[in-house]
Symmetry: C2
Subunit: 327 residues, 2 copies
């Protein structure tokens, strides 16, 4: 039985000193657990898996085999950026896997969110197992699981692909160095590890990526609308000085259409939903009160630049009663 | 071939004097057209049909048989208010028809917006025909068609139940005294007719009512969520002094669900979409920039008071590219 409960005695990590103490402790623990053996890591490029990767690279260098799976559900420009930062700048042992068709074909026609998460989670495991098979002597699987993931799974609210999804026949042992950290602590630790700000303050991104933001059954065209509108939102938030200030922001495209008028003709297209929230630890969240001129600018850009879209909505819902993600 | 084109020479009605001239002209025209015969009117209670009714009551008194059909798609408290104002205060010859089950049964499982509009429009005509059959010598059908309805139908953007839906075998002749008026002109004329402000500045309401705001196939529970959230929005806009200032505001509940948390458990409920726009003549519209404290208050009330709802969204889309209504 694995220990999935944060120790009562564990102090909240709020300072560089506390972060350094945590890092030293984890480096010792990782080295003790892993020895000279090899570790496989799912490196999505989000802050959790990036901090996890940085800890492992620091602890065991190129014994870490970091696998970046492009499952077609990543943000615009993200796969390229992961390769640049980890392979080129940090000299990681990085394997890039193009699995776009594999994932999207498996997801075709699947509209149930839990089912989508499970398929994406299972494909992840399968891809890692295949990569492990190509390597000699992989014995560990590292994961960027953080504490809210564990808490939410306990509550039965959502399944997380990076909690307990490993089939026992794979004989991987888990390495989860950040599993007792809250989100704010992950960032403090990331800073102390010397990760660049653009990575540490990067917005959280769920394991299933844009897949849970392409609400309902995923199609390539609607997924493209999510990706393009998300890029516009991030660009405009950055230009307005909100990057790093607003905790998380993204777009959602549900599988509904409404009437509109384009070039004098009736249109029948999707809405894009903007979501921007603030939170300390992801267990609750409040809505960012975005200034109207910025909302209007983002709306105008999305309506003119994103194909198949004729409406833009702003999600006003705090967590609870809503969750941060839609699925 | 009926004349459906506003005369080039027609002046925009902006003053009480111009309104009075229009009224005098219409009273003469109505009396000339109708003589001592009877007219049937679909009185929805919206500003268009109310102004149409007031013109007819002024012109021909109780020769007008005003039929108010409660099709189950009306706003909260609306059927009661129509009876109070027209029967009790204006002494109209008003017939109240409870057709809730009839409409909702016909609409069950119908998700195509054009199909929904057509069914609602056809049922309207049928109900009138039945009411006409119960009266002696009805020869006319009055309708509160206004000019943007005609223009939008010409453009093929939407079908309007009150444009050209009459089957020829009914032998009704149309009386449409406000069919060349833009929305702002309808209000000026309504004021000049002595209608109460609460009616003249009442928000426009489409013929199919809440039916086109219960996006997709109409169900009784989702329709109730539209009605209750709409009542909260109207109440809070009134309390904030926005009634009569914002041109049109309403709520929409599409047939999609998303995750949430209620009482610590996963919820899977609908979003409510808030729509508030300003417009002169309904051919274009801009979005009302509602202050954040009001948006937050409305959101909190809807999330706590409306059953089956776990999100609130604000529609940021101008017309064009979107339309004011969703269907």
């Amino acid at each position: 039985m694995e220990n999935n409960r944060r120790p009562e005695s564990m102090q909240r990590i709020t300072t560089p000193e506390l972060a350094q103490a945590f890092i030293d402790e984890q480096l010792t623990a990782i080295r003790a657990q892993v020895g000279s053996r090899k570790v496989l890591l799912a490196l999505s490029g989000g802050v959790d898996s990036s901090v996890c990767a940085a800890l492992l690279i620091k602890a065991i260098g190129r014994q870490l085999v970091a696998v970046h799976v492009n499952h077609g559900l990543l943000r615009k420009g993200e796969p390229e950026q992961v390769v640049e930062v980890f392979r080129n700048q940090m000299n990681a042992n990085l394997i890039y896997v193009d699995a776009v068709d594999r994932f999207l074909n498996k997801l075709e026609g699947v509209f149930d969110p839990e089912q989508k998460r499970k398929i994406i989670g299972k494909e992840f495991i399968d891809v890692f197992a295949e990569e492990a098979g190509k390597q000699d002597g992989i014995e560990f699987l590292a994961q960027g699981t953080i504490y809210p993931d564990i808490l939410e799974s306990d509550d039965g609210i959502k399944s997380h692909h990076n909690v307990g999804g490993l089939p026992p026949e794979l004989h991987f042992e888990l390495v989860e160095p950040v599993k007792f950290l809250y989100k704010d602590e992950v960032r403090v630790v990331g800073k102390a590890l010397g990760l660049p700000d653009s990575m540490v303050y990067r917005q959280p991104f769920p394991g299933p990526g844009l897949g849970v933001r392409c609400v309902g059954a995923i199609t390539r065209d609607r997924l493209e609308a999510v990706r393009e509108s998300d890029a516009i939102l991030r660009e405009e938030f950055a230009a307005a000085g909100l990057q790093g200030k607003v905790w998380q922001y993204f777009t959602v495209v549900p599988d509904i259409k409404s009437t509109g008028i384009r070039d004098g003709k009736r249109s029948w297209d999707w809405p894009v939903i903007l979501r921007a929230v603030n939170s300390i630890d992801a267990t609750s969240a409040s809505v960012e009160e975005v200034p109207w001129p910025l909302l209007n600018k983002i709306t105008a850009r999305i309506l003119s630049e994103v194909k198949g879209v004729n409406r833009v909505l702003y999600d006003l819902s705090p967590k609870p009663v809503a969750t941060i993600e839609w699925e």
